[in-house]
Chain length 378, copies 2
């Protein structure tokens, strides 16, 4: 068994206002982040990992004072892992609006001296990327060997390649999509409605009332969770297995799948901030780079200069392989260097977080070929 | 334009107690129903239509005093329609536990003199079928030319063919399934949790408090509605169309799909009873005739004597074609007479309610060949 990989949380404060896409601005903000491995002398081996809905900057390893808190992509990032921290200097950063350390709705609004709550402005994928770029500036990283993410994290990687083409040598987009479908937006909106209509939500200022809209968060998470798993995987894991061996003829949990989802919802509602949930789902809904080019994704991707690795999973019905293929086709139209792997995995959208040998081999091989001298793939 | 087809609601009271599958019994109950066409002298042309989650006995036609209230399957049932009321005597019946006329949670519990509310017992598909059989007894119908339903209604038709094999000449099962999957149950449970956790639910006795758990019902309906439509159909109808032409950077409805779903949820929460919603989703979850035979559907279907018409729709992801094919395969194993149509329609689960020429032709042809002399198909 390898020795624990200890990491520690870092934080940087930014005093320069950040203009947001929605018209508002953040006068000042902090970003929580973690780093793994060492930046080389040429500063050419930095990899930025962008997180999805409910994750954070804690990508890999554990904390000395919390050895059970394993990073959310620990199977992917670390010494000898597909994104090998013995070769790469990896950065995990928490997004603005989150509840895990970077400035968000639970932070103090310097203008009022009270937590932002509902006053925290709507942030977009592009705003996150701009904030991350400032973090890179501060860390002296002019160009990333790779920017990488799954799901919403993949959208950020894609946005990086378009907004800062000279700063991204490789862009790794996993289980993602160039935009949400009507059905994706519908699921997000039902989840939001569960939160917004919880009487404990108080228009987003529940903090001031000393309450938390737990019921809404719980339902929101249950809905989300269904969309992360595949029908087949749920059937294989839970099927129609009963909790008590027989039907109860009441409204308790008869089936294992019910108690599993309720448990997931309960757990989530204890640690996740409701305003953050609203903000992050809106960022998902709003992302649509082709929208500014009458739906032409290739035109949106025209500024990119990176090499691309795009990966999708066959049973992912949230962001199905066809959505990744759209990205690949647009990049091929532009004659960009692009590798695409469609992994036949049973685990639905969540597959991007799991250890699948073929998936990990694809990432390992791609990163192994990244040339750190020129920052380009050999 | 054809003359309006006027119908009127009927009601029969039953004093004999009905023993329910869950162990409880209903001491007395009423069933609301409607009939279309005339019962022939041989009483051989009766067709029973079973309804799905939020429908009722009002299958076809309109009321004289409410000419806008068109029956939910009016495109299927009526003079000259696929189920032709000039040839068949069609009965629509409201299920026990409903809020549309048959005894349910909003009815007075004779034991207490107050509405049942949370005290209404959990009812199953089999209980509904038993109650419907008593209605048939009372109407002097020994054997149905056909029992027919879509979705949950298809489960009832299937249950009829197994419980009362000699009373069903033909069984028509549309957009249905022999059992819910883990994912189906998961969606139902999230909807139930939205209702159960609404502070206005009061453990099901909201009626006594003079309130209605509207927020929960609204979210429940929004979730359900997403599963009734196909991803493609939603994309075609709504896509990413914006309500106001531009993003609003707030938590109002930016996209058309959001306001559509919110509207559907609002409307539903105004007329549907929350306890009924809980009961009907549990009936869906519990239905699993093969469960009593170690999962062998053919063994469960062994008692059947009917001819079968099974229909599914390619884009139905709630009850996908594969679920209908399971039924067909089991019936073929038993050497039952079975016709199967898989309709390539874009409208998801809701397709069973819509007018599709190929779908309607399949039903029309099947019913046209039903021999009313012997009650068997020629």
């Amino acid at each position: 068994m390898p020795a624990p990989y200890f990491v520690s949380e870092q934080r940087l404060d930014f005093a320069e206002p950040l203009a947001l896409r929605g018209g508002a601005q953040l006068a000042e903000y902090s970003l929580a982040f973690e780093t793994y491995g060492s930046l080389n002398a040429e500063r050419s081996n930095a990899v930025l990992i962008c997180h999805a809905l409910n994750a954070s900057h804690h990508v890999a390893g554990v904390y000395r004072d919390a050895p059970d808190r394993i990073g959310w992509w620990d199977n992917m990032v670390g010494p000898g892992k597909p994104v090998d921290t013995e070769r790469f200097f990896v950065i995990g950063v928490n997004n603005l609006g989150s509840c895990f350390g970077s400035t968000g709705p639970t932070s103090i609004n310097p203008a009022t001296g009270r937590p932002y709550g509902a006053e925290f402005p709507v942030v977009t994928v592009e705003d996150w990327v701009d904030a991350q770029a400032r973090l890179a500036d501060r860390m002296g990283i002019e160009r990333f060997a790779a920017v990488m993410g799954g799901s919403l994290g993949g959208m950020q990687a894609l946005a990086w390649s378009m907004r800062y083409p000279e700063r991204v040598a490789h862009c790794v987009v996993i289980a993602s999509t160039p935009k949400l479908s009507a059905q994706n937006i519908a699921f997000n909106d039902v989840a939001r409605q569960a939160i917004l209509s919880d009487p404990d939500f108080h228009g987003g200022n529940y903090g001031a009332q000393g309450v938390v809209p737990r019921r809404g968060l719980r339902v929101a998470r249950m809905i989300g969770h269904i969309t992360y798993l595949s029908d087949d995987d749920m059937a294989a894991k839970f099927g129609r297995a009963l909790r008590a061996g027989s039907l109860q003829y009441g409204f308790g949990a008869d089936f294992e799948i019910e108690s599993y989802l309720r448990y997931q919802g309960d757990k989530f509602s204890e640690y996740f901030d409701a305003n953050t949930y609203l903000l992050i789902t809106k960022a998902l809904d709003y992302f649509d780079p082709a929208g500014e080019f009458e739906g032409h994704l290739a035109r949106a991707l025209e500024p990119t200069r990176a090499g691309f690795l795009v990966i999708s999973f066959t049973t992912d019905w949230r962001f199905a392989p066809e959505r990744s293929r759209e990205i690949v086709r647009a990049l091929l139209d532009l004659k960009r260097q692009v590798s695409y792997a469609e992994i036949d995995a049973p685990h639905g959208h969540d597959a991007f977080l799991l250890e699948d040998p073929r998936y990990h081999r694809a990432v390992r091989t791609y990163f192994g070929r990244i040339d750190l001298d020129g920052g380009r793939r050999t």
